[in-house]
Amino acid sequence: MLDQTAATMPAYHVDSADPQRLRKAIEDVRLGTSRWRLALTLAWLDIRNRYRGSVLGPFWLTLSTGVMLAGLGLLYARLFDLPLREYLPHLAVSLVIWNAISQMVNDATTSLTSSEAIIRQLPLPYTVHALRCAMRNGIIAAHNLPLILLVFLLCGHLPGPEALLAIPGFILIAINAVAAALFLGMLCARFRDIAPIVGSIMQLAFFLTPILWKPKLLGGWEVWMPLNPFYALLETVRGPLVEGGGPPLAWLAAILYTLATVAMAAAFFVRFRSRVAFWV
């Protein structure tokens, strides 16, 4: 038998008269982040189990995105009357990043309810579940990245050093993914009707966001694009990779939206963290 005696005896204290919600929420995030190894192990397990027995595994997603890219690319380049070499890099980056965002958001709705058994058995920081969800989707999305490279090579599109700006773009998306997993995970645990609503919104957002089409096709309406948070986030990666750096307004909007998401998630988490065990 192994002794799990810590040097100092841990104490667990709750007093409903003095809930110390903020301190506990910060502690949750701190502890949860320090246990990223557990989150990563669980994320890999989820992927392995989801594609158990499949020959291609997560590369099925790469294949299906590739087929979609070829089909939509040929059709819409014709519809918009754009040269394929110019349209395809735009579509490739847009579609791959959109798939990642959309899957992260949809998966975020079950980030806590899917761990119900664990939540009711041992008091793990809830941040671990959110990290697990974000990491799982990040790994799956990474399987699509070779497609972007392939399209760039085929179209002879070589981005300059400004392509490195895509890295902060990816970081912004990752921050949003963790915040969304925490926020939507809690919200959807409490209100089970939110998940289908989120699904519908994401479907609508696919058409309202410049993924298939280019913002310049909007003409005078283009100035309103930063109002769409998905556009702003998409542009932080697509801009550097395809258009030689995104518009500064899109970057500003993306940073503001990220701050808003994090603030919303934090406020909700601080207030309702102690209720999650009753919700799942």
């Binding site: 038998m1 192994l2 799990q4 005696t5 104490a11 667990y12 709750v14 192990t41 041992l122």
Partner: protein, 245 residues
């Protein structure tokens, strides 16, 4: 010094995902269901509990189904936060409430032990040590490196038991006495369980089995309807319980 101290501890369990309106019609008016200030239907799971459990105490939680025994254990473990009163638990907590939770059917026995170690916050080296310890006790042979989906019921129990009892906590919380498996295993399990209980500063077990209570415990708390109706030495509480049926 491990200690569990509850002062005016109360916990309401909300009913969220069952038709609240029809439920209200059918159940309102009965004693334990009521509306809380934000108009939710809640059941009073624990009401105004006061006690102190000190080092060396082996406590049995007894009482009928739905008395709040498991809820109290989960509250001790830190899963549920009380709505009123305060709770202090000092000491490393080990909760054996649902030992199968967090097991992954498609992972091997070894991978599951590693996973459990990570859940408990162990380092890689400690996880390896844990795996060796569990492998030795569970005696699964080559099956330890096979996905546990293929295990027989007895093998699963052996692995779950070995994993659950491999870490020595200071505060041991147990729901029922999870013993099954073949006779040879039972004898070894008892010895291991005795060691685990002996090594813990405090044990709290929720059970219906009075033989278990008499054998392992030196204090009994009788819960009914979420309140403590008796608290004291095992024999006194049990005699009263058996007399009232």
């Amino acid at each position: 010094m491990a200690v569990i101290e509850a002062r005016g501890l109360s916990l309401d369990f909300p009913y969220y995902h069952i038709g609240a309106r029809s439920l209200k019609k059918r159940l309102m008016g009965r004693s334990r269901l009521h509306k809380d200030p934000s108009n939710r239907i809640v059941v009073t799971a624990l009401r105004d509990l006061n006690f102190r459990i000190g080092t060396g105490e082996r406590v049995a939680l007894v009482g009928p189904n739905g008395a709040g025994k498991t809820t109290l254990l989960r509250t001790f473990a830190g899963v549920y936060e009380p709505v009123a009163g305060s709770l202090t638990v000092t000491g490393q907590i080990g909760a054996l409430i649902d030992v199968a939770a967090g097991m992954d059917l498609d992972s091997t026995g070894r991978e599951n032990v590693r996973l459990r170690g990570l859940y408990r916050g162990l380092t890689d080296a400690e996880c390896d040590l844990l795996a060796e310890e569990v492998a030795e006790f569970a005696a699964l042979g080559d099956f330890f490196d096979v996905p546990i989906r293929t295990f027989s019921a007895g093998m699963s129990v052996r692995l779950a038991f070995a994993m659950a009892t491999a870490l020595q906590p200071q505060v041991l919380l147990m729901d029922e006495w999870f013993l099954a498996g073949d006779a040879a295993f039972m004898a070894r399990a008892e010895e291991r369980l005795a060691r685990l209980v002996g090594g813990a500063d405090i044990m709290v077990v929720a059970t219906h089995d009075y033989d278990v209570v008499r054998r392992w415990c030196n204090r009994a708390i009788r819960l009914e309807g979420g309140t403590v109706v008796a608290d004291g030495p095992v024999e006194a509480v049990l005699a009263d319980l058996e007399a009232t049926g």
